[in-house]
């Protein structure tokens, strides 16, 4: 084989640049041993816990928007029988929360308003008049229109599910609320016989304000998401009128909250 001097010179000139060329960045590596893998997993988990707990240390304000649905319920006052319809209404709440027990538990305080709540009223005078006149058939009512709203103050304790870094939590709350309604108009009661013919129609006007306070217990579940747990969404159920014979599941809420602060 004949070696050409020009070829040797060319090879010598190119050799350094070939050596400096960046090869593929990939190369084989040893698999981690089970013990090393266990250490990596434990270290990553510790980091995850630390990152999750950090935003819970300082108190944070939050705004909560929700849709609340109620069961139909009647409330009696001196001047009227107030009926809250089975209805839904938007609700807004302002809250303050703070973590405790190294992020495992969280305390929260909420002040909320829900409105407008569809309701109606039957004046006490009409109710008394109807009691004095029996109806052979069925009574049909057209209640006086009312505009209702609920104002509430509640305190919650929330616990993370499974571990403290979990985005899911369950909570228990206790609160006071007041359902108020402004009533203005006339209510009508019609006695309809078995053939569907209206026999007797009575009406009475009512103008006033009715208020119904309630003690409530809440059960909730929520999910935190976003950087530094900035948002959460959840579902809350309220057992209302605690300590009265009508105590029971009164409402439910689906909420989204924005937490601001450090």
């Amino acid at each position: 084989m004949r070696v050409r001097p020009r070829g040797v010179w060319l090879a010598l000139l190119w050799a350094p640049s070939l050596a400096w060329a960046d090869p593929s960045p990939l190369s084989p590596a040893p698999l981690p041993t089970p013990a090393e893998l266990g250490r990596i997993v434990a270290s990553v988990e510790a980091h995850r816990q630390h990152e999750a707990i950090a935003p819970r240390r300082a108190p944070r304000l939050f705004v909560e928007l929700s849709m609340q649905v109620w069961r139909a319920r009647d409330f009696a006052s001196d001047t009227m029988l107030l009926r809250r319809d089975a209805t839904g209404a938007p609700r807004v709440a302002l809250g303050l929360r703070r973590g405790a027990l190294d992020g495992l538990i969280e305390w929260a305080l909420l002040l909320d308003v829900a409105a407008p709540i569809a309701s109606g009223a039957l004046p006490e005078a009409l109710s008394a008049a109807l009691a004095a006149s029996p109806c052979e058939g069925q009574r049909r009512f057209a209640l006086a229109p009312a505009r209702g709203a609920t104002l509430g103050l509640s305190a919650f304790a929330r616990v993370r599910v499974f571990d403290r870094a979990s985005p899911f939590s369950v909570g228990l709350g206790l609160g006071l609320s007041a359902f108020g309604a402004a009533v203005s108009g006339a209510a009508t009661a019609t006695c309809v016989d078995r053939l569907g013919v209206a026999r007797d129609t009575r009406s009475a006007a009512v103008d006033g304000f009715a208020l119904h306070p309630s003690v409530n217990v809440f059960v909730e579940t929520s999910y935190r998401f976003g950087a530094r747990e900035r948002f959460d969404t959840g579902l809350r159920m309220a057992v209302s009128d605690l300590g009265t014979p009508t105590a029971g599941v009164g409402s439910a809420q689906w909420f989204v909250a924005w937490h601001f602060g450090p």
Binding site: A21, D22, P23, S24, P25, L26, S27, P28, A29, P30, L31, P32, L37, I40, V41, S43, V44, H47, M67, V69, W70, R71, A72, A86, G88, S166, P167, F168, T221, Y223, F225, G226, A227, F231, T233, G234, L235, M237, V249, A252, Q253, W254, V256
Partner: protein, 122 residues
């Protein structure tokens, strides 16, 4: 568990990672799925790989490559693009909020509206 469910539902996104803080050990990428890419340049060929990161140091990153079914090391170079797969906060929030909203809707029908056949009433 949750990460697995959210990944199945597609509720994740690829977030770019700055090379400087990563090499300085300020970013925790271990056990995360990492995408590494080197654009084609005069200095070398283009390359890309996806790894489940196990070891990260100033010089490179080591992890299991599902496509090659073996452990590989990626040596950092200038111009490398690194991104990590993390749960998408908005998509995961929407998915969970959707489940909660559905529970409220069913609860409304069953308990509050008290519909026959659904709420246990004949």
């Amino acid at each position: 568990m949750l990460a697995f469910v959210l990944a199945l539902a597609g509720c994740y996104r690829w977030e770019p990672v700055a090379l400087g803080p990563l090499r300085a050990g300020q970013d925790e990428l271990r056990m995360a799925r990492v995408r590494l890419a080197r654009p084609a340049e005069a200095s070398g060929p283009a390359a890309a790989v996806e790894l489940i990161a196990h070891r990260v140091d100033a010089e490179g990153i080591e992890g299991f490559a599902p496509s090659a079914a073996r452990e590989l090391r990626w040596r950092f170079g200038p111009g490398d693009r690194v991104s990590v797969r993390r749960p998408d906060p908005w998509m995961s929030g929407l998915a969970v909020a959707g489940v909660y909203a559905a529970v409220l809707a069913i609860g409304w029908i069953a308990v509050i509206e008290d519909l026959p056949g659904i709420s246990g009433r004949p």
